[in-house]
């Protein structure tokens, strides 16, 4: 009716409709809700009521109790003073609720084991810690409820958070074990079961800090890397056409990130800090500065990668340390090393992709591009044999092999063919 008017549909039907409508309308007339709202339900009342409408009203009424809300004082058993505060309380039939303040149970504290002097002498002596220090530590731990950061701040002598934790946990553990009638009794206790590893903790924190400080660089590098990848777009006819660079951040980057997390990220910030430190020196040797820059650029690369870079340099006929290290020569040398690193990374990427491709064909492909350990080992093994050959035999041969490839199966084999003599047997497993 109105809707059809809006839609502009022909009006010859309405005559019929008007006739049929009135009887329907009298049937349908809803009570309590407007016509349009009722129409939302599809024009029919629900077959089964979802909620028992009667129940809704009855629940409030059948209480037969008088409910009021009152502003009353209360005490909190978790407090040590006798502070009395006020709050709104639901009073039923004139009786206020009993029981403790409902949040009192949230005031939990850690049970800190207290050792006696005897126990200290027997089990807890340590060359790096005096009894006084240990006592202070435990006192602070109790006061601050094992918040080690606060404890570290207030600890009189300078000890790191990890050292404090280490001492606390080892002491507690020793006491527990010493007091237990038999070792089996406490073996399930978390303090005994999980031993605190201070060095691991320090390492973990250092790594986290590194990650935190490099995130922006990583993002930038990721964007650069992915912008360079131009993905071909398939048209309906199946022909390939290159399209504008698509940010493949989702698919490419998780894999690149997991495989070579910081190979392109940390060097940028490392070289900046090297430049700053050189400037601080004021006077230095050019060879020293080159050394530092090279170290910074390959800071994230493993030893194997560095060896490969050096091998590549030798193959190219370049001195590992320039014979005439002028400003220009050093700059070129550094850029060359960086480019070789990029090259090696791309090779790794390619091999990874090809391994992925072969497993795709096998049907074992999983959506998450996270590398199963098997494959990464394979890729790395290939690398060792791959690099020198690809450069010394010249790129041309490799390119031709690629073109001659017939089916996708060949993809996996081509890279290793120049290095047939050294091909590791492991790789065969994928075919």
């Amino acid at each position: 009716m109105d809707a059809k008017d809006i839609l502009g549909l022909p009006k010859n039907l309405p005559i019929q409709e008007k006739k049929s409508k009135p009887p329907k309308e009298s049937q349908r007339k809803p009570d309590g809700i407007s016509r349009e709202v009722y129409a939302l339900t599809g024009g029919l009342a629900p077959l089964m009521p979802a909620i028992d409408v009667n129940q809704l009203k009855r629940k409030a009424q059948s209480e037969n109790e008088k409910i009021t809300w009152q502003w009353l004082p209360f005490t909190n058993s978790a407090r040590k003073d006798n502070l009395q505060l006020y709050h709104w309380v639901r009073v039923v039939n004139g009786n206020p609720p009993t029981g403790d303040y409902s949040f009192a149970k949230c005031n939990k504290s850690a049970d800190i084991i207290k050792y006696t002097d005897e126990e200290y002498e027997k089990y807890l002596t340590d060359p790096a810690w005096t009894k006084e220090e240990t006592d202070q530590l435990f006192d602070l731990c109790e006061r601050f409820n094992l918040r080690f950061i606060a404890v570290a701040d207030r600890f009189p002598s300078t000890k790191t958070v990890e050292e404090l934790k280490d001492r606390y946990y080892s002491v507690s553990r020793a006491i527990l074990i010493a007091r237990a009638p038999s070792p089996g009794d406490v073996s399930a206790h978390p303090l005994v079961k999980d031993v605190y590893n201070a060095t691991q903790d320090t390492e973990r924190k250092r790594a986290l800090n590194l990650l935190l400080s490099h995130t922006k660089h990583q993002e930038r590098r990721d964007v650069e890397a992915s912008a360079n990848l131009v993905l071909p777009v398939l048209s309906d006819t199946g022909t390939l056409g290159a399209d504008k660079p698509i940010t493949t951040a989702d698919t490419v980057n998780p894999s690149t990130n997991s495989e070579f997390p910081s190979s392109t990220t940390t060097p940028v910030s490392e070289t900046a800090s090297v430049v700053a430190s050189l400037r601080m020196l004021r006077v230095y040797l050019r060879t020293y500065s080159l050394e530092q820059m090279v170290q910074a650029a390959s800071s994230s690369a493993g030893l194997r990668t560095i060896k490969r870079v050096e091998q590549t340099l030798q193959d190219l006929g370049v001195n590992l340390k320039p014979k005439v290290p002028t400003k220009a020569v050093c700059a070129e040398h550094l850029e060359l090393r960086k480019e070789i690193l990029t090259l090696l990374n791309l090779q790794k990427q390619l091999q990874y992709k090809e391994a992925e491709g072969s497993s795709l064909r096998d049907g074992t492909f999983t959506e998450t591009p996270g590398t199963p350990p098997k494959q990464s080992v394979r890729a790395v093994d290939l690398d060792r044999t791959f690099t020198p050959d690809s450069l010394s035999t010249g790129g041309e041969r490799f390119g031709k092999r690629e073109q001659k490839r017939k089916g996708p199966g060949r993809l996996a084999e081509a890279p290793s063919s120049p290095a047939q003599s050294k091909r590791p047997r492991k790789y065969k497993a994928s075919d």
């Binding site: 993905l231 014979k323 290290p325 480019e339």
Partner: protein
Amino acid sequence: MPNKSGAEQPEISGSTQKSQRTKITKSSDDNEKKSLAKKLKDSEICIPIVYGNIAFWLGKKASEYQSHRWTVYVRGATNEDLGVVVKRAVFQLHSSFNNPTRVIEKPPFELSECGWGEFEIAITLHFHSDVGEKPLHLYHHLKLYPEEESGPLSTKKPVVIESYDEIVVSEPSEALFARVQNHPAVIVPRLPADFTLPPVPLEDVDSKNRVDTKDNPLNQWFTNFSEADELLKLAAARQQVQAHIARLRRQLTLVDGQHQQLKAPSDM
């Protein structure tokens, strides 16, 4: 060489009187000093050096403990005088020598001795105060015998082993800059032409007493280090690597495309 004391004036109308000109110079001096200081902030001056040794076999005059006469030295790469920046050089010899710590107070910074053994010599360069307070250390392994077994030793042809390096002074002070900017041993960054530099005290008195290192009798044996070769090689290497990188990138996109093809049917 341009006369430093007053020839380079800021670019103001040249028709003003001399007295006015000097007045203007004084007032804009401060601004210029500030901008010069700024320019020097991100720059560096560079002194190319070569250090090493020359060793002559003594032939008939050789004894068991003195078979060679050798000279260890630090020189400017083009044989220019290093005294402009280096105050003194200390050569630390093997402990078997008398007074193994030899201090050379003025150029040429070299030291000659007789001996039979090859050992590492630590060379410490101390600089003039406007260069820097900290000394630099170089290490040179003394070489007396030639690399290849070239038959009988000759007293005429020495064994020469040299290493090239450069002393970099980052953010040099203005005084230093002014002092060295025209010295042949030093490479300085170019400044815009209209910069006046603080006047430098004349060094004519010193120059007469300075030993002319160009007259060193050992000059004939010195190696001429040229960066051209190395630069060429590096450029060629970079080109090769860049070509490989481009090729790999293309392959990667190809492989990705094939993967897309493979993945697509399984999505359905």
